[in-house]
């Protein structure tokens, strides 16, 4: 097998490498747009558990292998370069601006997913490289910021297919275990819900100051208010979504949204790491 010297840049020349990188990136980008055009949005449901776990395993194996061969592989070196960092951040900016002006952001499109996958892959590689400083000490702040972002972004990206949003019409004094998906598919819950009371309070100006529904969930009476959902399990949360506006305080039903997000604690872990990293950044100032 042909073995290249340690520094490939020396062999190929900086300019040639950049042209080669631009070519590969353009081909990938065009491919994602072609697939989008031909096949439409990504069938997200397909990547639900366990396929997403298997895909992550494969992805991490490839990244690990790339990382180990970083001395020989130009692909690894390109993915670890400052140019890749700039491209990742530029992609984030482009996604932000696009989603910021679109009426319905195309978050499940192939180009958007390709961009996110690139950002995540680059992040994983630079995090592996930057774990320790030149003296072998763990770089806490670097790890908090970069691993935190991998977890926060990655959990949303890979866990999207396992997220479920259901809506149930919960009537006063009538038990129900029926909920509906966004596509109006019926889903039977393994517990029942009954609304026992609904109340609205007002400011003196007449605008509502609070909405509250008392709902019996699986035999337990809970209060559902805006900003105060009910965590039924570690992954399932119930929200007061809407109510019978015609009858206000005498509302005959309320609409409860059931959100199942098994990956949520990974997101939280990532967010907490990023917040700690940000606090450290303020306290210690920019380094390096």
């Amino acid at each position: 097998m042909l073995s290249l010297p340690q520094n490939c840049n020396y062999v190929l020349g900086e300019r040639k490498i950049i042209i080669y990188e631009l070519l590969v990136i353009s081909i990938l980008a065009i491919a994602s747009f072609v697939i989008q055009h031909l096949a439409g949005d990504i069938p997200v449901e397909l990547f639900s558990f366990p396929l997403n776990i298997l895909t992550i395993a494969l992805w991490l194996v490839i990244l690990g292998w790339l990382y180990r061969s970083r001395q020989r592989s130009q692909y690894a070196q390109s993915l670890l370069s400052m140019r890749a960092t700039i491209l990742s951040l530029a992609l984030m900016v482009v996604l932000g601006v696009l989603f910021g002006i679109q009426h319905s952001p195309q978050t499940t499109s192939w180009p958007a997913a390709a961009a996110l996958l690139f950002i995540l892959s680059h992040l994983v590689l630079v995090t592996l490289r930057g774990l320790r400083d030149s003296r072998g000490k763990l770089r806490t702040r670097f790890i908090l910021n970069h691993l935190g972002l991998i977890l926060a972004l990655g959990a949303g990206f890979w866990g999207a297919a396992d997220r479920e949003e259901l809506r149930a019409i919960v009537e006063r004094d009538v038990a129900t275990n029926v909920a509906y998906t966004h596509n109006h598919n019926k889903s039977i819950l393994d517990y029942e819900m009954t609304m026992t009371d609904f109340s609205i309070e007002y400011f003196e100006t007449g605008t509502p100051s609070s909405f509250e529904a008392k709902v019996i969930v699986d035999g337990e009476e809970v209060s559902l208010r805006v900003n105060h959902p009910y965590n039924r399990t570690l992954s399932e949360t119930l929200y007061l979504m809407s109510y019978d506006a015609e009858h206000s305080n005498e509302a005959r039903y309320c609409i409860v949204e059931i959100v199942r997000e098994p990956w949520r604690w990974l997101t939280v872990a990532g967010i907490v790491m990023l917040i700690v990293g940000a606090v450290l950044m303020f306290v210690q100032g920019k380094r390096g």
Partner: protein, 260 residues
């Protein structure tokens, strides 16, 4: 309009006057002038802070709901971060710039006062409300200072200036990150999802990306660096108030002033 807001022009005039005195004394670069500058700046900040506190008490809710109210905090934090930058890094003209920018925002508030009433819609009644918005306003002020320094840098670039921009900006980014992520945690409580690509969230992501870009390339390409810091601040304006004027604003869950 409740009692309290009508005295704002006087409060603003005194705060601006003290800040201008502070800026002038700071620019003299003399040790005695420095003490007068700091004392005068603290006086201006204290008067504005007292007004915010009084508004909070009379409204019986945190004054962070309307754009006008956030502008008020912005002016306050701008003067504060200008003072901090001056004390910490001895940039003698930064207070002049921060005073100018704070004055613009106070004038907007005098010219276009918004409804300040007691109501705080249920969606905003959360322990996350005050930290989320005030941390953001503080970061906007720091990032505003970094932008002023960068505009200056386009004319007179220097390594010394880069150091100051980097420090002020990285503190701004730290607060921006905390504001954004506290928002994500709040969004899960309120709307059931950490991130929904709501227009404001999307522009926050774009802004964050631009600032991180500046942070990562600093300080190799000086003018590009200044340009990115300035572009990031423009994106920040979209995130803060520009989104309200976009055609897709109606799908935003972040509009709290247009109801009623």
């Amino acid at each position: 309009m409740v009692l309290g807001w009508n005295i704002f022009p006087f409060v603003a005039a005194v705060a601006v006057l003290l800040s201008v005195v502070a800026a002038i004394f700071a620019s003299l670069d003399k040790e005695r002038g420095r003490r007068i500058a700091i004392a005068s700046a603290i006086g201006g900040i204290a008067i504005l802070a007292a007004f915010v506190a009084m508004l909070w008490l009379t409204l019986e809710r945190p004054p962070l709901r309307t754009m006008g109210e956030t502008r008020l905090w912005y002016s306050l934090f701008l003067l504060l971060s200008g003072l901090v930058t001056y004390v910490r890094w001895r940039y003698r003209w930064i207070m002049g710039f921060s005073t100018m920018l704070a004055t613009v925002f106070m004038i907007i508030n005098i010219a276009k006062p918004e409804l300040h009433d007691h109501t705080l819609m249920p969606a905003l009644q959360s322990p996350w409300f005050v930290p989320h918005v005030s941390v953001y306003m503080f970061s906007y002020a720091l990032l505003g200072c970094a932008t002023l320094l960068s505009v200056y840098g386009l004319w007179r670039p220097s390594a010394e200036l880069d150091k100051a921009i980097n420090r002020v900006m990285s503190s701004g980014i730290a607060f921006f990150t905390i504001g954004m992520l506290s928002g994500a945690l709040w969004a899960k409580e309120a709307w059931g999802t950490y991130w929904n690509w709501d227009p404001k969230e999307a522009w926050a992501a774009a802004t964050w990306g631009l600032y991180l870009l500046a942070l990562h390339i600093a300080p190799q390409r000086r003018r590009i660096y200044y340009a990115i810091v300035i572009a990031a601040f423009l994106s920040l304006q979209m995130c803060w108030w520009g989104v309200n004027y976009l055609p897709n604003a109606e799908r935003s869950e972040h509009t709290y002033t247009m109801q009623r």
